[in-house]
Symmetry: C2
Subunit: 483 residues, 2 copies
């Protein structure tokens, strides 16, 4: 101990860790999905002071089982239905392990050309798998880049949009007039956060009306807001349309929104963080409707539903010039011949941070292991299971189904016949609390039209029909017991 | 193929990958340090289209050797002396592998309590190992958090500082007046980039003079600039002091700068990305001078010199309230009992993105494997090797040494006696080009006082005395050949 781990030690401990993970995969159903620890319990079980002398890796693995695992909520559990899935898969884990083993830093092309060029290739591959507009491929003015999350992609899109809108004035002199962004009540909170970060201000994020039934953004209201703001002297920067909202997977009318954006000369960012990857299936290519010729930037997360461990968001832009213009700074110590030649991509200029991991390896591993047909099968499984669940809910008179469920998310609530709305909502939340506390499954909630709905998001690789059936049985039992 | 990788397959392929990494560690010296591929070479060697059918993981490993490895610049090579080191280590790789295997998402305490609480513990541990001011520990008003990089830490610090300076006005209403930041010519470009991102504008980043000999920031000039800007109606937001600059590891006088900041009520961020971890050694604790009572935020990167694979920057704040105030947004779908209780930390409110990996596992693995004594030994090795190199340079009449080299970085240049400055600088860059092209070692350069210096950063875990000696021999030979 205390010295560097030798290659021989790495072989030995590496096998132990691989076996530990395989064992975990085999026994994951024996854990409660939601951790049962109370606040502070894990912290208290960890020594207050760091060790003076090094310890063997066996000690780490022992404490992992003893201290850490009780505090883990199992996102890969087949009965994990909370938020959206955060798919892990064997090939992604191993691709990520290769990245760690290589330990390279891809800030510049020169600092590991393969890190950059594999990223260019796999983002092009994914654009092809999803049948995205040709303009997003690297061969033309646009291109793709891996970001850590859709939040960062949203911020980067705002900065690129701002650059295009003002020619770089804000980047140089700061924001000096009112800038506006456009979202709906259903847009992910990351866009409001991005507005705060970028100095635009959350208060200048304008909320476009949605259709009360579909929860989709109203292009006519967007048009009116844009005209009103421009007339009042504001600089409209970006509109965010969402394909598959976090709350209920609502789908904004991208074509109609895009037409309004083009007319007003405003950047259209399309956030398809969860649902965009569904386009691997030809029958779901409608999720791309309206992108071509309209979307200036587009983001989807292979780390949600496409089997690639977090973090892996892919952001594409139709024109990389404003993106690079917004994010490039060149100090002397980063100058190099390859960058100066203009022949290479330096992805540091496509993101917030300078440093970057070799994340393309995991996406490459996933696409090669599964192939297009394996990816399609995974998405179709989630959709088939969700459709089955929705049919049971629809047929059960004690429950009300939220009608829109084209992907893996199903939203619903018990009717709690006779209870006033507020009490019914409290009963729904209490039902969720009991279900989650049981450890049998993990659900989250949302609000639609002021009413609480349960969200059951299907799509963990381990989830099969039996887990969805068991979850529905538990929900109906527990709702019956609570009624 | 095309289906999910079974636990048995994961065991088999996992062992192959572990062995591949161990083999790589054993034979890393057989590779040229800097990749020799030309732009586009890796891209062209990769299939233009993604596979329709899945392939075995053997195919990925075969192409890794055939296509990817020629395009890798080997950051873990013992003769890698470019930029700063990006240490990888066995325990860090395995800690990261465990994180990938668990596949949890730590955005909220509730989504995996251990992910949050282990992070709290290890950031406290690191604060203790470095003997940072008590106010940075989680027990009081402050605390630490793992960010992906010092760039993100810089941006987060700016946002927290802005929040404290204006009470949240910019976050709500956007930036409406001139805001200013204070750096020196030696500050990392991430701070200027952060100013652009935050809507403050790169043009409102004020450059404080440095002492021409030490390259350290001049507190008196800072004082004058702050007074001038405030009198002109600007809102000074943040001063960035650096301990160990990227160019030459210069050290700003934090105590003197802090005194000025306190007097003007301005946030002091201390960027010790590279050098901060040196404080694991008691004899190097001077790198913390002036932090106590002055620094509002402090960042250092275990992923540079402390054996923890990228990404792992630790950012500490003395008061977490403005940080959380700047970055917290609470949509319905993230509400949960634990967060509402106020008893837990939700680290999503301490960073740009919502999602977050379980990065604490790798830092925990590193601290436990090495222990405090192992970490100290690693830092001391780098410093000892750098001191040896500096002594040889000092004694060689053909070379000029940059006198300041307290850590692992040594800057120097051939004298090229008789050549005018511009030609000498060109000769230095050409020498660097030839050395790097040889594959024997990898150096980068900087400019000080307008003159080109070579930077040789020692600190890769594999680097021993023999590699530094061999590098110096190559440099002197090649400089002699080019003279």
């Amino acid at each position: 101990m205390s010295g560097h781990m030798t290659p021989e030690e790495f072989r030995r401990y590496g096998r132990q860790v691989v076996d530990w993970i395989a064992d975990y995969q085999e026994k994951i159903e024996s854990y409660p999905v939601l951790s049962r620890v109370r606040p502070g319990e894990v912290l208290e079980a960890l020594p207050e002071h760091p060790p003076e002398h090094g310890e063997g890796f066996e000690a780490v693995l022992a404490d992992l089982d003893r201290v850490i695992m009780p505090g883990v909520t199992h996102w890969q559990h087949p009965s994990y239905f909370a938020y959206f899935p955060a798919n892990a898969s064997g090939p992604a884990i191993l691709g990520d392990l290769l990245s760690a083993g290589l330990g390279v830093q891809g800030m510049l092309w020169a600092t590991s050309p393969a890190c950059t060029e594999l990223e260019t290739r796999v983002t092009d591959w994914l654009a092809e798998l999803l049948d995205l507009p040709a303009g997003f491929r690297s061969g033309g003015a646009g291109g793709g880049v891996i970001q850590d999350s859709a939040s960062s992609a949203a911020l980067v899109a705002v900065l690129a949009a701002l650059r295009r809108a003002d020619g770089g004035a804000a980047g140089r002199e700061g924001i000096t007039r009112r800038h506006t962004l456009y979202i709906s009540s259903q847009t992910h909170s990351a866009m409001e956060k991005a507005a705060g970060i970028a100095g635009i201000g959350a208060g200048n994020v304008r909320t476009v009306d949605v259709d009360p039934a579909t929860l989709a953004m109203d292009p006519a209201h967007l048009d009116a807001l844009l005209a009103e703001d421009a007339a009042a002297g504001a600089l409209p920067v970006l509109v965010c349309a969402t394909v598959g909202t976090t709350s209920t997977t609502a789908v904004d009318p991208v074509a109609g929104i895009g037409e309004v954006c083009r007319r007003h000369g405003v950047w259209l960012h399309v956030d398809a963080a969860y649902a965009g990857v569904a386009a691997v299936c030809p029958e779901l290519r409608w999720v791309n409707d309206g992108l071509a010729g309209n979307a200036d930037s587009y983001a989807t997360n292979p780390h949600k539903w496409l089997l690639t461990n977090f973090d892996c968001t892919v952001l594409w832009v139709a024109d990389r010039a404003p993106l690079i213009g917004a994010l490039s700074i060149l100090p002397e110590y980063l100058r190099n011949q390859a960058s100066a030649s203009g022949e290479v991509i330096d992805y540091r200029d496509w993101q917030i941070s300078l440093g970057r991991r070799f994340r393309a390896l995991k996406l490459w591993s996933v696409i090669r292991w599964y192939g297009a047909e394996g990816l399609r099968e995974h998405v179709r499984t989630g959709i088939r299971l969700a459709a089955g669940l929705a049919s049971w809910i629809r047929e059960d008179p004690a429950f009300e189904l939220h009608d829109h469920h084209p992907f893996g998310l199903v939203c619903f609530r018990p009717r709690w016949d006779g209870l006033p709305d507020a009490e019914a909502d409290a009963a729904t939340l209490e039902l969720m609390r009991r279900l989650n506390a049981s450890g049998d499954l993990y659900l989250t909630h949302t609000k639609v039209g002021g009413r609480v709905l349960l969200r059951m998001a299907i799509g963990a690789p381990a989830t099969g029909a039996e887990h969805v059936r068991a979850a529905w049985r538990r929900i109906t039992e527990e709702a019956g017991a609570g009624a």
